[in-house]
């Protein structure tokens, strides 16, 4: 065992394992970056504001003005609350149409290949119609009540449901289907015990998209339907008319939070339902 050096060989030294981070440190690393980005965005807002001409300053209210004219006032909170309730009920009513309908069409396309051929391109086409372009027509046909808004939300949230469901259903493990076929299981048994559970995580990804779209859709619909007691969208328009831009900002912030809340709810629900068994689940396998 002589130490004759090998030509061109290098010695590679061991690398000690990095020190385990403390829970506190890991927490800071998760929380800090988004906070820093948010702070930078606020700074950007302040900088743009500082460059605005005096007579345009109302477009970007200061924090103090927001507090004084909106968030410190109980009546603004009350209005935000009651209007958020209207918006969320439009969003949920729309989803109550689009989700069952979307699931129905997804199943139909899965069951009958010829229907997939016939329906799928048309569902894509339906999605491609710009929503705002149809609104005048809807107003003329259906008036200004709750129903047209609900339909607008339904149309905006429909697309993601049959498409993600169909994708999930078509990705069912072939072997699992063979397993059912070997027992002569009929199509409905196979669907209920095999295809649907297997497609559920994919469908839930679609639901998450639809749910956050629903709030956006509800607010957009309200911008065009001002009659009666409306939701956050109406509050935005009214604040513009009344020149209460702080309240407009308050409504904007509230609708963003609402949208995020609905998204988070569906994420949480999906996680709860599937994390134990699905590959995307949080727990380690």
């Amino acid at each position: 065992m002589s130490d004759v050096p090998i030509t061109n060989a290098q010695v590679f030294q061991p690398v000690p394992l990095p020190k385990q981070q403390s829970a506190l440190m890991r927490g800071i690393i998760t929380i800090l970056p988004p906070l820093i980005v948010a702070a930078l965005l606020l700074l950007l807002y302040a900088w743009i504001r500082s460059n605005l001409a005096e007579h345009r300053l109302f477009l970007m209210p200061s924090a103090a003005a927001l507090w004084d004219n909106a968030f410190s006032r109980p009546e603004v909170w009350a209005e935000l609350g009651s209007r958020a309730l209207v918006t969320i009920s439009i969003a949920l009513a729309g989803l109550a149409i689009s989700i069952p309908l979307g699931i129905f069409f997804g199943l139909l396309m899965y069951r009958f290949f010829v229907l997939e051929r016939g329906l799928f391109p048309n569902i894509v086409a339906l999605q491609a119609i710009p929503m705002l372009a149809v609104i005048p027509l809807i107003q003329t046909a259906l008036g200004f009540g709750f129903m047209p808004k609900m339909l607008i939300v339904a149309k905006m949230t429909f697309f993601a449901i049959p498409t993600t469901l169909l994708l999930g259903l078509k990705s069912v493990d072939r072997g699992a289907i063979d397993l059912f076929r070997l027992q002569n299981a009929n199509w409905f048994v196979m669907l209920w015990k095999c295809a649907l559970p297997s497609a559920a995580p994919s469908l839930f990804a679609g639901l998450r998209i639809s749910a956050s779209m629903a709030v956006v859709g509800a607010i957009v619909s309200e911008l065009f339907f001002l009659a009666g007691k409306g939701g956050l969208g109406q509050m935005i328009i009214n604040s513009k008319i009344d020149f209460k831009y702080e309240q407009m900002y308050a409504a904007l912030i509230a609708s963003t939070l609402l949208s995020v809340a609905v998204y988070l709810f569906f994420s949480w629900l999906g996680n709860r339902l599937f994390s134990e068994w699905h590959e995307s689940g949080g727990k380690e396998g």
Binding site: D178, L179, L182, Q183, K193, S198, A200, W277, H278, G285
Partner: protein, 273 residues
């Protein structure tokens, strides 16, 4: 079915490349599964199988080895009815078939217990029956204590055990295995070979086993069949003379190695031909 006319044609088909008497195990045993001049042509024109005649007696354990893509799996799918053959006939009782796939095909949203109960559920067993039989099978394959685990938390070998338990729950009379242990490491594979032999001896099913591994085929079976390249034909049939139960020491036995060698040579011919 003892005097099935196809017994004769099997002899003709194979042109005496083997001892035709080997087709039947003990005298008097019926034929559990019979392929008669079975052919398979896929819609794209591929000839997957050509003139397969093979009779498997009740209680036999037959392995099929052959080059990749020679139609071994297709043969199982035809036997089980998953796809219909395009020529010839298959004779088998499909009401009591067991079938394991190349992977465990457990339903990931069901725990081990739920997976083992699945086939009984489809067959309309009562909840108590299902629970009782599933527990028996789980104990039998050595998964006790894992009843409430989801498949994703199990190792490959344990998943395969759960898959076996699921099929065994119906106590199949004919059990087909489509390369069940191909994805497992060698130690696990050999252990599962022994466990499967024990289950075979205990339940007395007729086995049709597909594998890429020659030692596995010889170790498990009473008969090893070598198939040709596509279109798959039966080239050779080897009788395995060793008595059951087989002990792991058999793997180091000279006669065992010699037989593996013969099968290996036949398989090499199959690939080169």
């Amino acid at each position: 079915m003892e005097n099935h006319p196809a017994m004769q044609s099997a002899k003709d088909t194979l042109n005496g490349t083997f001892d035709a008497g080997a087709l039947n195990k003990p005298k008097g045993a019926g034929v559990a599964l019979a392929f008669d001049r079975v052919g398979m042509q896929f819609p794209d024109g591929t000839n997957a199988l050509d003139d397969i005649t093979l009779h498997i007696a009740e209680g036999e354990f037959v392995s099929i080895v052959g080059p990749s893509g020679c139609g071994k799996s297709t043969l199982l799918k035809i036997a089980s009815g998953l796809i219909p053959q395009t020529a010839g006939t298959v004779t088998v009782d499909r009401n009591n078939l067991g079938y394991t796939f190349q992977d465990a095909t457990l339903l990931p949203w069901r725990k081990v217990m739920g997976n083992v109960e699945l086939l009984m559920e489809l067959r309309g067993y009562t909840a108590e029956e299902r629970r009782r039989i599933a527990q028996e099978q789980i104990d039998l394959v050595g998964l006790s204590g894992f009843e409430n685990h989801y498949p994703k938390r199990l190792s490959g070998g344990m998943r395969m055990r759960a898959s076996l338990a699921r099929s065994l729950a119906l106590n199949p009379s004919v059990f087909m295995f489509d390369e069940p242990f191909g994805a497992l490491d060698e130690i696990t594979r050999e252990r599962l070979n022994d466990e499967l032999i024990a289950l075979y001896l205990r339940n007395g099913f007729t086995g049709l086993f597909i594998t890429h591994s020659i030692p596995e085929a010889v170790y498990m079976s009473s008969k090893v069949i070598v198939m040709s390249r596509r279109p798959g034909r039966i080239l050779d049939i080897f009788n395995v003379p060793f008595d059951y139960p087989r002990s792991p020491e058999l793997r180091y036995d000279a006669d065992f190695s010699a037989l593996c060698g013969e099968v290996s040579i036949s398989l090499r011919n199959a690939i080169e031909k």
